[in-house]
Symmetry: C2
Subunit: 354 residues, 2 copies
């Protein structure tokens, strides 16, 4: 299916961080969004609820209203902690299936495995695409060390700080310079945008590094100049750091980009302090140095909580403290950061060998 | 079932590291081993094939021979990389099921989910215990920070260096001193020995930290003095380090014991150099310091490749380089290391808070 028209289901959540899947698809996917379902903003436009999304798509109160706008697909546009489906969303999904919409979900709980959804989908003849469904298990082999493209991994100081966005913006900057850069999606939103990828957080722990390796050694990306791998979590995230580390060792990057959100003080819902950029850089580089050396070659600073003057000051401060190129790739575009980073990932790096 | 009599299936593998599950159960489980099936050593005794196992159990050529010795259970005593079942073991397992033996397996591929095994088990009325089958998914909550017992985690420089053994030996030393220490099993062999636990490498990545937390906050261990958590992998293991990190953040230890195997130079089948003990200690402590401070308070050195004089020299060398108590808890017993470590984990540690 090449031209989806999405209705996005995000009841009571569209303006929150838990709707980041929906925001990402609206901002970056080629697929069109024809309606967002969230009674809290019914009658408004996407840009009214989430100002940074330059979209006029209407927000409606119900699935019934959304169906009038001709969607082909329902995107389950929420990402609740733990991935389980809120009970109130069930009825809406069944309604969409009855109306013959494709169902696209990034939840941990596979909708296709739910007996009621599966039966309804069979009856209606629609597809349920659980984007987090993992590939066949395979162990990390070390083949990732031998790929031709330079591999760049975005790493972060927390979840939801903008690693996917920074990756997509840097890919865009590369392409504008006629560099064949590919976005390697590792989370549900990224996969919906890219149309392929693996949700690493849904892979059994033993096989997480192997699953990432599989993405970078894929024949489909072998001729690219640069692979920009979407990072996940943060290295001191009390719950998700194992996924972060799986990406670092499994993608075997030649260079890293640190993504940090200015003003963020604690990790998600935990009391754990967010690492200062320079400390996060030291941690990522120290870990990489035990397997395959990779340096952080730039900082993508998310300044969305600041005004322009504050943003400039904060970018300067991080630049001074890290000694690295730093910019907000959303606010000021990815060009400057991309150009400044070029020297940093100009060549392949060999892994350590004993 | 409280008194198992095991037949252990390890064809062509009993004397190799891939049979470490079998070795662990023979060395530490209360269940008796009545036969090992490995044609390569048929007619010999366990101690002939694996000298450090002080067991006279016979090694036989076939399941048929093993059944004459009256086993109640068949332990699938191999741990192939990736966890998939070798084809030649299928016939033996079906033969055991037909003979009404319980099947105990630590493989990633659940034998109970195999249609042929499941059907045979139903027909014979026997149980298939897949010890790696994961618990219900739960996210890490932070409750691990509030448990009463002091928590000690064994961490290592590679897989199969002796983390489980060191944990079990330290539990034994604690109990000899009337300290209520419990062994928290996190891998298939440990679970078979303890009769409970969770194989963390089989848990979906997002829930790995939560699965470990669940073990340390379990009511059944709440009144213990010390929990000694079995570590997994190594922090620079290219494939399994995410499991290692999940244990570090999920168990939220108050102290760590480093387990290192003298003479080991590269990680398992990879070319990645094994970290020197002092460098591994620095790495583990640096990571812990980003969430909840925990120090390495002793080194359990596995010297099984050395003679006694070499072992003493190597222990002295590691002691000098790390500044920590160090001993081989198998060769010289766990008493000295346990006593020397006491000061190091005398009290609970609070997590960092932003």
């Amino acid at each position: 299916m090449s031209a989806r028209r999405y209705a996005i289901l995000a009841p009571g959540a569209f303006a929150t961080r838990s709707a980041k899947t929906a925001h990402g698809v609206i901002a970056y996917a080629r697929d069109e969004t024809v309606a967002v379902i969230d009674p809290a903003f019914a009658g408004k436009r996407v840009r009214d609820a989430v100002p940074y999304l330059a979209s006029d798509a209407p927000i409606v109160a119900s699935m019934e209203d959304a169906l009038r706008l001709g969607p082909t697909s329902l995107l389950v546009g929420i990402a609740p902690a733990g991935g389980a489906l809120p009970a109130q969303a069930r009825a809406a999904i069944l309604e969409a299936i009855a109306a013959k919409l494709e169902i696209v979900s990034g939840l941990h709980q596979f909708l296709g495995d739910d007996a009621e959804f599966a039966r309804a989908a069979r009856t209606s003849g629609v597809r349920i695409w659980d984007v987090r469904r993992p590939p066949s298990p395979r162990l990390f082999s070390g083949c990732a060390y031998d790929v031709e493209p330079r591999v760049v991994l975005t790493v972060g100081t927390d979840c939801a700080v903008g690693k996917m966005t920074a990756s997509l913006e840097l890919v865009r900057a590369a392409r504008e310079r006629n560099v064949d850069a590919r976005f390697i999606a590792t989370g549900q939103t990224g996969i919906m945008i890219a149309g392929s990828g693996t949700a690493i957080d849904g892979v059994v722990s033993d096989f997480a590094t192997g699953a990432i390796e599989e993405l970078v050694i894929d024949d489909a990306v072998a001729t690219a100049d640069v692979l920009i791998v979407e990072g996940q979590g943060g290295i001191n995230h009390p719950a998700f750091a194992p996924v972060t580390l799986a990406l670092l060792y499994g993608a075997a990057p030649d260079a890293m980009i640190l993504v940090h959100r200015a003003t963020l003080e604690t990790i998600e819902t935990y009391r754990t302090p967010v690492l200062a950029p320079e400390r996060a850089i030291a941690m990522y580089e120290a870990l990489a140095a035990t397997v395959k050396v990779a340096k952080v070659v730039g900082v993508a600073l998310n300044t969305k909580d600041l005004d322009d003057a504050q943003a400039h000051r904060e970018i300067e401060r991080v630049r001074a403290r890290t000694g690295l190129p730093c910019d907000d790739v959303v606010r000021f575009g990815p060009g400057n950061l991309y150009d400044a980073m070029q020297a940093g990932f100009a060549s392949k790096v060999r892994p350590l060998a004993g």
